[in-house]
């Protein structure tokens, strides 16, 4: 399933479903600007936020991360 990229001026946030995440780490690899990994390998938002803000320049990469996650633990929430 591919996410349509919003090329408008909307902001986006990356939502992590912690109950699905199994620390495979693909998201942190694809979005190193936004995500680090914690002591146990789980994605850690660099800005410390609960819902990770995704700047427009990184939205395409975020979309790839969403598709790449083997556990379907990521969703990109766009506000228009």
């Amino acid at each position: 399933m591919s996410q349509r990229v919003d090329t408008g001026s909307g902001t986006a946030t990356l939502h992590i479903d912690w109950s699905r995440c199994d620390r495979r780490g693909l998201c942190a690899e694809l979005l190193p600007e936004l995500l680090d990994r914690d002591d146990w390998g789980y994605p850690l938002a660099r800005d410390g936020s609960r819902e990770v803000a995704v700047p427009r320049a990184l939205q395409r990469h975020a979309t790839e991360a969403v598709s790449a996650c083997p556990l379907l633990a990521l969703r990109l929430r766009r506000s228009r």
């Binding site: 939502h15 479903d17 912690w18 109950s19 699905r20 995440c21 199994d22 620390r23 914690d38 002591d39 146990w40 390998g41 789980y42 850690l44 410390g48 936020s49 609960r50 969703r75």
Partner: protein
């Protein structure tokens, strides 16, 4: 308080019946009539939820999408070990809870109504439901809640009612839009339902006659620890912690701090706590909130850090183990804190304090539910309230027994 100066408002509202049967309930409380506009009435009354989050009840009700097979749930799971108010209310006045459930069910045109209670309360609630079989619009289903800390978490209830385990779910959509089986779901704590039933009978002004402007009405408090008669009593918001302790027979000895809000609450030191009003505004500077009305008095001859370490162990053990940061982080946090709580000096070092703070910041906000967040709140309040104990531990001694 809104009462005329010089008069006292009777705050015995929820627990006044002598027996839990329908006849006693009707005799004491009178008949129930559905208000024309329940949302407006609750808005005027200013009722907030009594499950811990204190969300404005009218807002939640207004947000449920009516006419789409909504389901209404009275949550009586009460997974908090230090709380007994929900079970007390359910045993003493189940019909107030069921009246509230019927009212909100009618308001949203619900086609399913559930009351979710621990196993030992299933018989008494089932009996009460049976007494109302021909009067409530929808038959109330009694569902058993497992005896775990997270069983009463909103999405854990949804999961259970959708046929799964009582474990929290990821929150992407508001449950008022899509909850149990994808249906709009209204979930209220059983005490909130009880207040709704009384407001429908007596009105918003009556409700506001007790309490404060921001926190109107009464609440059920569970007081335990170093008090003579631990138990559940009804109080008005704005009464002091001291008044709550008095209703529990007063302290059984010198008290160094009180835990307010339960295991996800915060420690508030004495003597400051004594005169502190139980209201959101008054407790906020201490990182505390009235929450579900839990107050635990810590005796002066106990070690606050050790007491906290015990709670942290419990909270770690109660993790649903679905989310990595909680599953791995809480045990690590509890274990590290335990070292701080243990004397002799070899165990407690400043580096250890930093490590505890680092771990706390790491797990905070990273989970499907607020279990890690609540655990961190408790821990941070302990580091603040028991800073003298911490200093003593860091120099190899413990203040226990010296107060």
């Amino acid at each position: 308080m809104n009462a005329t100066p010089g008069t006292t408002v009777d705050v015995r509202r929820l627990l006044v019946v002598s027996t839990p049967d329908l006849a006693a309930h009707e005799q004491v409380h009178g008949p129930l009539f559905a208000p024309h506009d329940l949302v407006s009435l609750l808005r005027e009354a200013g009722l907030h939820g009594h499950g811990g989050a204190a969300f404005p009840t009218w807002r939640k009700l207004a947000a449920v999408r009516a006419g789409r097979n909504a389901i209404v749930v009275a949550n009586g799971a009460e997974g908090e070990p230090a709380s007994a108010k929900d079970r007390t209310l359910l045993r003493i006045a189940p019909h107030l809870v069921l009246d509230g459930l019927a009212l909100v069910g009618a308001a949203v045109g619900a086609t399913r109504a559930v009351v979710y209670v621990p196993s030992d309360l299933v018989p008494v609630i089932s009996r009460a439901v049976g007494e109302r079989r021909f009067r409530d619009r929808i038959a109330v289903q009694v569902v058993e809640a497992p005896d775990t800390f997270v069983a009463g978490e909103e999405t854990a209830v949804l999961s259970r009612l959708s046929g799964g385990p009582a474990l929290p779910l990821d929150k992407f959509t508001r449950i008022v839009d899509s909850g149990v089986d994808g249906r709009p779901t209204l979930l209220n704590n059983v005490e909130t339902m009880g207040h709704i039933a009384l407001i429908a009978r007596h009105g918003a002004e009556w409700f506001r006659a007790a309490g404060t402007k921001e926190d109107p009405g009464t609440f059920l408090a569970t007081v335990s620890g170093a008090v003579r008669r631990a138990g559940v009593h009804e109080h008005a918001y704005g009464e002091t912690v001291g008044a709550l302790l008095d209703a529990a027979g007063g302290v059984s000895g010198p008290v160094q701090a009180v835990l307010v809000g339960g295991y996800h609450g915060a420690w508030v030191p004495m003597p400051a706590a004594m005169d502190l009003a139980v209201s959101r505004e008054s407790l906020a500077p201490y990182g505390a909130a009235p929450g579900a009305g839990v107050v635990v008095a810590l005796p002066a001859d106990a070690c606050g850090l050790a007491a906290t370490a015990q709670v942290l162990d419990y909270l770690a053990q109660q993790s649903a183990r679905q989310c990595g940061p909680c599953q791995f982080g809480l045990p690590r946090l509890a274990e590290t804190f335990r070292q701080l709580a243990t004397v002799p000096r070899a165990a407690a070092t400043p580096t250890l304090v930093e490590e505890v703070q680092r771990l706390a910041a790491l797990v905070d906000g990273r989970g499907a539910c607020r279990h890690p967040d609540g655990t961190v709140r408790l821990l941070r309040s302990a580091l603040s309230a028991f800073r003298n104990d911490l200093a003593a531990h860091l120099s190899g001694t413990c203040m226990k027994g010296e107060r």
